[in-house]
């Protein structure tokens, strides 16, 4: 399970480097960044970007609505797999965690987790973001969405051998992440993930399920990257179905205790 996820993450990482190179070689079959992607005739857009454009311009182009269908459909069915299986930033933070363990630096993990509080903070930040962009009149929320910035900057590096200052924002988020708040971007800041989780419904789609006979070893809680309790928060809007908890569960060896279920 985790192997498939790692392969998928590395595939998407390869993709953001490969797309500009293919475009340089004048192969235009696949084009775009993680804000908006075109594969052949199929357009896929980040719902955040499209909602911002509609919200600000009060103008709807058919292509916009068509392009957000696929991501929303995937989120409704499989949860926020975009975050766990594709986002290059999630891969980066996991890598940082591994380095931290190698260097024996302890992660700052607050023990008293409250999913509702987390959700309130991230939705609050998204709301503030939308208020700010409605004042400015410019869709600028991409600035705090790490995957968007990373993929567009890779395009800039490959196409123009230059980076723009958006990289500083990523560095700032990384510093906060490493020294102050554990998984700050994924849990609170990232507007892409927050908006996608609006389409995660409580009783529909792929959820982490739990059935009795738990030995209370709490391995799943220790291991969850978003600091959830998988037994309670399996259907939470925070959960991005990464499946680390399912793989960590030792009770699963004897009997199905913690598992994915299509509701």
């Amino acid at each position: 399970m985790q192997k498939i996820r790692k392969i998928s993450q590395l595939f998407f990482l390869l993709l953001i480097v490969a797309i500009p190179i293919l475009n340089l070689m004048e192969i235009y079959f696949i084009n775009g960044s993680f804000i908006s992607l075109t594969v052949g005739n199929l357009a896929i857009s980040d719902p955040l970007a499209v909602f911002q454009a509609i919200f600000l311009s009060h103008k709807i182009v058919p292509l916009m609505l068509v392009s957000i269908l696929a991501p929303i459909f995937i989120v409704i069915l499989f949860g926020r797999v975009w975050c766990s299986y594709a986002c290059p930033y999630f891969l980066m933070t996991e890598f940082i965690d591994k380095v931290k363990i190698k260097l024996k630096i302890k992660s700052v993990r607050n023990k008293n987790i409250n999913t509702n509080k987390q959700n309130i903070i991230r939705y609050g930040l998204l709301l503030i973001g939308f208020i700010v962009i409605s004042i400015l009149g410019v869709p600028l929320l991409y600035l705090i969405s790490p995957p968007s910035v990373i993929s567009t900057q890779v395009i800039m590096i490959i196409k123009h051998f230059a980076i723009t200052l958006e990289v500083l924002i990523i560095l700032l988020i990384l510093i906060i992440e490493i020294f102050f708040i554990y998984r700050f971007a994924c849990r609170y800041l990232c507007p892409t993930g927050t908006l996608l989780s609006l389409f995660q419904f409580k009783n529909f789609g792929l959820k982490v399920e739990h059935i009795g006979n738990c030995s209370e070893c709490k391995a799943c809680i220790k291991v969850c990257p978003l600091m959830l309790d998988p037994k309670i928060d399996g259907d939470s809007k925070q959960c991005n179905n990464c499946g680390i908890c399912v793989d960590s569960c030792k009770d699963n060896l004897k009997q199905k205790t913690l598992f994915f279920k299509m509701k």
């Binding site: 797309i19 500009p20 475009n23 004048e26 235009y28 084009n31 775009g32 960044s33 804000i35 908006s36 075109t38 357009a43 857009s45 980040d46 970007a49 499209v50 911002q52 454009a53 600000l56 311009s57 103008k59 182009v61 292509l63 916009m64 392009s67 004042i135 400015l136 009149g137 410019v138 869709p139 600028l140 991409y142 600035l143 968007s148 993929s151 567009t152 395009i155 800039m156 196409k159 123009h160 723009t164 200052l165 958006e166 500083l168």
Partner: protein, 209 residues
């Protein structure tokens, strides 16, 4: 509302790169600048697909314009391949625009106080041609719509018609420095100042034309 406008003006007032303020245009098919700023989601698709590396990404130092695509005509003009219009996901670039002659990025304006051909013409009219200027014709020769968008009045004075697409190839090839004798006035800029034509218009007001 006035406070919001003040904030907007304040955030837009940091534009320091004066060099780039002249002759910068949006990619072909761009809608009106105000609407463009609302629609452009900074996905970099047009930047990526541009085979001539003409479209560039505006830097964060340009504040609210951060990440939007620009063509800097003085570095390289748009080659009108029309790849970029079809990829825009939000319609900030008109997806239906495919024929390069329909493009209206802006319009070229000849500055006859600098243009070598104009200077030579004036000198010959006054009978004081001393060999300091020579016939140039670079803008005419490089124009992809020769005779349509630009023609030589009296066989020497470059004149722009309304068929000009504003691609900026003439600006790129214009040999005068530091200021180009032929400049692009971008279409649909929020105001004339943001198009970088402040100094240019001041000179016209003073009767320099």
């Amino acid at each position: 509302m006035s406070l919001i406008n003040k904030i907007k003006l304040f955030l837009n007032s940091f534009d320091d790169n004066e060099y780039y303020r002249i002759n910068r245009m949006r990619p072909p098919g761009a809608v009106d600048e105000k609407l463009f700023m609302k629609l452009c989601v900074r996905c970099s698709k047009c930047i990526e697909i541009c085979p001539y590396r003409v479209i560039k990404r505006s830097d964060l130092t340009k504040n609210l314009e951060a990440g939007t695509p620009y063509i800097y005509a003085e570095e390289k003009g748009c080659q009108l391949c029309m790849n970029c219009t079809s990829v825009c996901p939000t319609g900030a670039l008109d997806n239906k625009l495919t024929y390069f002659r329909d493009t209206r990025i802006g319009v070229a304006i000849v500055d006859d106080t600098i243009c070598l051909n104009h200077l030579l013409y004036n000198q010959e009219e006054a009978g004081i041609a001393d060999g300091t200027v020579a016939v140039c014709n670079q803008c005419f020769n490089s124009c992809p719509l020769k005779f349509d968008a630009i023609y030589l009045e009296d066989m020497i004075l470059p004149t722009i018609t309304d068929k000009c697409t504003g691609c900026g190839i003439c600006t790129e090839s214009c040999p005068t420095s530091p200021q180009k004798a032929i400049n692009i006035l971008p279409n649909g800029m929020a105001d004339i100042n943001s198009a970088g034509y402040k100094q240019y218009l001041k000179r016209i007001e003073k009767g320099g034309r």
